[in-house]
Each structure stands twice: as C-alpha cells, then as structure tokens.
C-alpha cells in the first residue's frame, strides 16, 4: 500500500512539474459553493453535464456500427439492436439520456430564471446556457431521424415543413437542411454530419465558455438570499459538493439503466417515402408545446397565416429569452420583480399544459 502511495506521489510530482497541477488543486480547494435554502438547484447544471458526457460516450459506441445512408441506416441500427453485444443497451441509454439531458437542461434554465442567477455579471453565462439548450434540442431533432424509421421520417418531414413557413428564408433553409425539396437520403447524411460533427463542435465551445464563467464568477447566490444578507455558510466544492454531485450522477445512471432495460428504444418499421404517413405522428416531447400551439392557431391572423404568426412568435420568444438579462435589469440592481416571476411561472405552466394536451389529443390522421 505504501509502495502504491509512493508511486502515485511520484507520478503526481512528475505531472505537477510539467502541468502545474498544484495551481489547479489550489483552485479546486479554494472553490466554495454557497449553502442556503436553494442550494439543491446548483446540482442541475452538473447533472446535465453528466448526461451530456453519457451522450458522448454512448454516441461514440453507436458510431462503430451506424452507417449513415438511406439504404443502410435502418439495417445497421437493427443489427446493432439484435446482434451486437449490449448494442441495445448503448442505443437505449443514448436515447433516454438525451431526453433526460434536455429535461434537466429545461429545469436548469427555469431555476436560473426564478432565482435570477442570470443577473449582472452573469449575462454571458445565461446567453451561453440558452444557446446550449437550443443546441441540445437541435441534437434531438437531428438524432431522431438517424435510425431512418417510419415515425422519424414523417416527424422530420412535418418538422422541416413547419420550417418552410418562416417568411423569406424558411423555404431556403428547409431546402438546405434537407438537401432537397423533401426528406431523403441526402437529409439523413446532412443530419448525421450536423449531429456528430457540427453540434458537438459548437457545444464544446459553448460548454467550455459556460464552465469557465461558472468557475470565474462562482455560483450565483439567489436574489432573495442576497437581500437577506447572503449565504450564511459555504461548502467546499472538492470534495463535499463533488461527492454529492456523484451521488446524483450515480442515481441518474441507475435510472438510465432501469429505463433502458424496461423501456428499450424501439426501432419500428423502416422509413418508406412512398407510404402514407402513419396516424399519430408527434414530435419529441420537448417540441410538443410549439407543435401543439401551431395547431391551435386559426388559419389566418389579420393578413398573415396563423402558422407564420406562430413561428414568428416562437422566434421572437427565443430572442427575448436570449436577451432576458438585458430586459429584466431590476434584479441586477437588487430589485425583485413579481411581474417577471409570474411571466416565468406562466411560461412553465403553458409548456406543461400544452404539452399534456398534445399527448392527450386525438392522433392526427
């Protein structure tokens, strides 16, 4: 044992001499997490990061077998699910982890909104976080098509058709994204490239920025706690907070394993562009509130098509969300705003109710 410890110290000293690990250790030891009644929300960011790392690991394993073409994609996933050892497990964990990651990212976003953690000087942390959520949704949209099964094919067709309704550039954007006028093999290869190269690259950059800012600016203390005189206590990040994080991550891992074993990802029938669209095509749950809202809109609102108004509305909402810290400046000055709190609560209630209605509604023909 003593020998092993001696060897580890030797390796540490060797690396420290070259990488200045002592400085990193010093930062880690110095880092503290404020302890107050809202501390639990701090775990959501780490949980989302953990699920993203699971995505990378399982995604790489899937890449060993996946063949990105309309002719081979479905068969390669079928082979992976039925013939490859633990192939079903990797794919199921990848699918479930994606959903959980977006779920925790949404929770993280709303907790930050309600705790006013975006306020000065964390505006860039907020913007990078919102963009990361957008990237996560783009990961979901592009990854959904990759198995090239019937539901994914038609859901992507509906999704890209909605994009066409964006004035002026919508049709062009949809054509570029699809590689043609309709979803085809060209769309699959484009989505694949976006899913495994473009989005990971952008995410790595934004995630790096986000984590750097968290490190640089520290954990934000909620406005109401700050008004009461700030956090009364702190917790060392290493090891206290990190160990608690680990407990959460291991719990997530157990949940993922159970979900993958009991509800493995289905493959369904291979996409057939000439077949009629199956009944009940629905987007992934995180797009449902937008999809359902578009269905509720009348055919025309004033002189504009209802769908166009809806899409422009969501685009505007996205921009407003992105620049939220610059709109709600009161919290930066330490002034709480009930109006903004109710707006956020309204957003949460709207998303939950409309998503529920989307699943409770009759299947579409």
């Amino acid at each position: 044992m003593g020998n092993l410890k001696q060897r580890f110290s030797g390796v540490w000293a060797w690396l420290d001499e070259r990488l200045d690990l002592a400085a990193v250790r010093k930062i880690a030891e110095k880092k503290e997490v404020p302890v107050h009644r809202h501390t639990i929300w701090y775990y959501l960011g780490g949980m989302t990061l953990f699920l993203y790392l699971i995505q990378i690991a399982t995604g790489i394993l899937l890449l060993f077998y996946y063949r990105p073409s309309a002719e081979d994609a479905y068969e390669s996933v079928q082979f992976l699910m039925s013939e490859v050892h633990f192939g079903w497990l990797f794919r199921s964990i990848h699918a479930w982890s994606a959903n959980l990651m977006i779920f925790t990212a949404f929770l993280h976003l709303f907790s930050v909104l309600l705790l006013r953690s975006y306020r000065q000087p964390r505006e860039i942390s907020w913007i990078s976080g919102v963009l990361l959520l957008g990237l996560a949704m783009a990961f979901g949209f592009t990854g959904y098509l990759l198995p090239w099964n019937e539901l994914a094919y038609f859901a992507t067709r509906v999704g890209t058709q909605i994009m066409e309704a964006v004035p002026f550039i919508g049709a062009y954007m949809a054509t570029v994204l699809r590689g043609g006028d309709d979803v085809s093999g060209a769309t699959l290869t484009r989505f694949y490239a976006i899913h495994v190269a473009v989005l990971p690259m952008l995410t790595t950059f934004l995630l790096g920025l986000h984590l750097f800012l968290v490190q640089k600016l520290g954990m934000s203390v909620p406005l109401d706690v700050e008004r009461e005189g700030g956090a009364k206590a702190g917790m060392k990040f290493v090891p206290n907070f990190l160990l608690r994080d680990l407990v959460g991550w291991l719990t997530a891992l157990a949940i993922l394993a159970a979900l993958a074993a009991y509800f493995p990802a289905h493959l369904g029938a291979k996409a057939d562009p000439f077949a009629p669209a199956p009944a009940g095509i629905k987007p992934e749950w995180y797009f449902m509130f937008m999809f359902q809202t578009l269905k509720y809109l009348p055919a025309h609102i004033l002189w504009l098509e209802g769908e166009v108004v809806g899409i422009l509305g969501f685009m505007l909402a996205g921009v407003l969300l992105l620049i939220w810290p610059f709109i709600e400046r009161g919290s930066g000055r330490g002034e709480p705003s009930r109006v903004f709190t109710w707006i956020v609560v309204g957003m949460i209630v709207y998303i939950i109710v409309v998503t529920y209605l989307g699943y409770a509604a009759e299947p579409m023909a």
């Binding site: 291991l250 074993a261 493995p264």
Partner: protein
C-alpha cells in the same frame, strides 16, 4: 282528354307564348330546350336538366332524337327533319350503336374505348330475347345507362359504377313480380350482399372486387355455363383456377353437372373461404360428398390437419415474437422471416385446390421449418430479456452500494 294530355297541351301553349322572349335572350339555344324546360310534365321537362350532367350533353337532344333544334315551332319535331322521337326498345341498340359501334368516331373521344357493346349485347340473354321474341321487358342500353343521365363508370353517381352495378341489375333481377315470367331466382342481389366480394367492394373499398358484370359480362350478360364457371372465377383466382382445372375433381364435377368453384364456394353468396370449408367438420364443403369412411374423406381430413398444424405453429411463433417485441426486444428480422411461413400457409391453402395431399404437405413442411426457426428466435429473445433484468439488478445493486459508500464518506468528511 285526360289530365296528362291537357297538361301537355297547356305546357306547349305556354312555351309557344314565352318562346319568342326566351329566343331573343338565347339566340343560339336549342328549341328543344326552350320548349321542354317550360313544360309542366316532369316526364318531358326533366330530360332538359338531366342532360346537362349527361356525358353526351354536347351532342344535344338531336344527337339521339333527331329533329331540328333551330326551328322554333312544332316543325322542329317533323319526321321530315329526322325526328325519331322516343325510340322503341328494339331501336335502342342501333341508335346507340350508330356512334358506339363506330371505331373511327369513338376514337376521337377515347382511343381505348370499346366498340363491341352492340355485338356483345346481341349475344346476351337480354339481346337475344329482344331479337327472337321481341321481349320488351328485357334490358336495353337505357335499362342500365339511364337515358339523359348517363355518366362514365368511374363516376360514383353512375348507375354502372362498381358500387352501383348490383343495384342497377337488381332493379329487375331482384323484383319477383317483374321477373315472374322468366322463372329464375330473384335472390341473387340479396345473396350477393352477403358475399365477401360485396364486402371487399363496399367495406374495404376495393373497386376491383367483382360485382354482377365481372362474372356475367356486362353487355353480353349471360349466366356462366356449368362447365366454364372455373374460367370465370379463374379470371381473378388464377392459381386456384388452374389447379382445379387440372384436378380430377374438375372432370367429376362436370360429369355430375356441378358448377365448378361454386359447388364449394357458392356463386352469388361467396363467403370468405376459411379452413372450416376443408375436412369433414361442420360447415366443411368436402362433407357434402365425402364421409369419414371414404378415401376422399380421409384425404380431406389429413389436409385439414396439416393446415391446422401449420396455422397453430405459425400463431405460436407470431405470439412469442410479439411478446418479445412488446418487452422492447428487436425481433423484426425474425418477424420478417416468419412472413415466409405465412406465404407457405397461403400456398398450402391454395394447393388444396389440386386435391393432392402431397402438394399440400410439401407447402406445410416448408412452412413448419420456418416457424421452428422463428419460434426459436422468440425463445432466445425472451431468454435475453431475463438476462437483461438480472444484469440490471446486479448493476443497480452495485450503484446503490457505491451511493451508500459516498454518503458515508460525505458524513465522515463533514463530521471531521
């Protein structure tokens, strides 16, 4: 003067008085339309509005009735101007045939249009009775294609659209009073309504499913002779038709005066053929002639046993694969493979029409091999599912142990 004649004359007088004003407004309009539209007798005025939707509307009234549509007086109906009035039943076929038998003329409207309707009609029971005994009750062209409202068969409101043919034929053939002079059954329509053919046509929307004219011919309508019923059914059921034609049953049925396919499957009330038709059980067609003690009866029973065994094995394999699929296992390849057993089952049922036990056995054996492979895949998949659960239990136990260790570690650190 009866009421009808009085109304007719009153209508004509009103039309004559009104016509000059109508004529000014519609200089190019036909005098037939001008007068008949104003008549109060529906029999005479209805054709005006009906013809607007008729496929022949462009030819106008004179196309069939002759006369002079530009003459705005009763002289328009002068026989000297070609007026033929309402044609007699015997004249109808030649009147329609003037155009419909003229290939050169019909080509202008549709190069693929048939021009043999009149020739066929003359071979039909309808046409031959009209020609031989001047039977005025038989169907002529206008009996099935109502004059003034003729529409193409593709039009759902046409009297000869596949969904309406049975009703059109049934107007006469399902009317016991009308058909009483001919001493033929009038239950064909009702029996057809219970058939699989009508079900496919009306419920499943398969417009290629047969209706009256597909078996009896349309213009050449006649009951199929006993010896060639198989040819009629064989138009669609080709493989069964050929197997039956080559079988010894074909000869025997002809000898016994039995109507081929219809002996077992009925003619108008052709119900969905199920396995119950085979063998000697209740509802089995074979039992109509064969008994348990006869050689034919033994073959029929053996065929039924073979098909039942394949059906049972197929269902078992299908069920176990469905069970595996329901718990989320990927078995689509095995399910696809099981499709071959379904094909073998269909082939075995088809082979029954050869009345050869060997032919049926060959198909059944091929199917059984496939079902065995599929069933084994299903069993393997369910075994894998159990392993997955075990693996999950072990993994979760390990993770929980790790979590417990971490919690203890946190406590230890924070107590220190």
């Amino acid at each position: 003067m009866d009421t009808r004649t009085y109304r007719l004359l009153l209508g004509l007088a009103a039309a004559t008085l009104l016509w000059p004003r109508l004529g000014q407004a519609q200089e190019e309009a036909s005098s037939c339309v001008g007068c008949h539209a104003a008549l109060s007798d529906d029999l005479l005025s209805a054709p005006v509005s009906e013809l607007e939707r008729d496929v022949h509307s462009d030819f106008g009234c004179v196309g069939c009735h002759g006369g002079d549509a530009q003459e705005f007086s009763m002289l328009a109906m002068d026989p000297a101007r070609g007026y033929v009035g309402i044609p007699e039943p015997r004249e109808v076929e030649s009147l329609c045939g003037r155009c419909h038998s003229d290939a050169e003329f019909m080509k202008r409207f549709d190069p693929a249009f048939r021009v043999d309707q009149v020739t066929e009609y003359r071979t039909s029971v309808h046409g031959s009775r009209l020609a031989s005994v001047n039977d005025q009750r038989v169907a002529t062209c206008v009996g099935c294609h109502p004059a003034h409202s003729i529409k193409p068969p593709s039009d759902p409101s046409s009297s000869v659209h596949p969904l309406n043919v049975a009703e059109t034929c049934g107007q006469c053939h399902a009317d016991p009073d009308y058909m009483s002079p001919y001493a033929i059954p009038t239950d064909q329509h009702d029996r057809y309504m219970e058939s699989i053919h009508w079900h496919m046509l009306s419920e499943e929307g398969d417009l290629s499913a047969p209706t009256c004219n597909d078996c009896h011919g349309n213009h050449g309508a006649a009951p199929p002779g006993v010896s060639w019923v198989g040819n009629v059914c064989g138009q669609c059921h080709m493989v069964m038709g050929e197997l039956f034609a080559e079988s010894f049953h074909s000869e025997i049925f002809t000898m016994l005066g039995r109507p081929g396919c219809a002996t077992c499957h009925d003619n108008h009330r052709t119900v969905a053929a199920g396995d119950e038709l085979l063998g000697l059980g209740e509802g089995a067609a074979c039992a109509m002639c064969h008994t348990e003690s006869s050689a034919g009866g033994a073959v029929a029973s053996s065929m039924r046993s073979l098909i039942d065994s394949l059906t049972a094995r197929y269902e078992a394999a299908d069920s176990i694969l469905a069970e595996a699929e329901n718990v989320g296992l990927e078995v689509s390849e095995a399910q696809f493979g099981l499709g071959d057993a379904r094909t073998a089952l269909v082939s075995a049922r088809t082979a029954v029409h050869s009345f050869s036990l060997e032919a049926v056995k060959e198909e059944v054996d091929a199917g059984l091999e496939v079902t065995a492979v599929a069933y084994a895949s299903g069993e393997g998949a369910l075994g894998e599912f159990l392993i997955r659960r075990l693996g999950l239990a072990i993994s979760v136990a390990l993770i929980l142990a790790l979590i417990a260790g971490l919690v203890l570690k946190i406590r230890k650190i924070e107590q220190a």
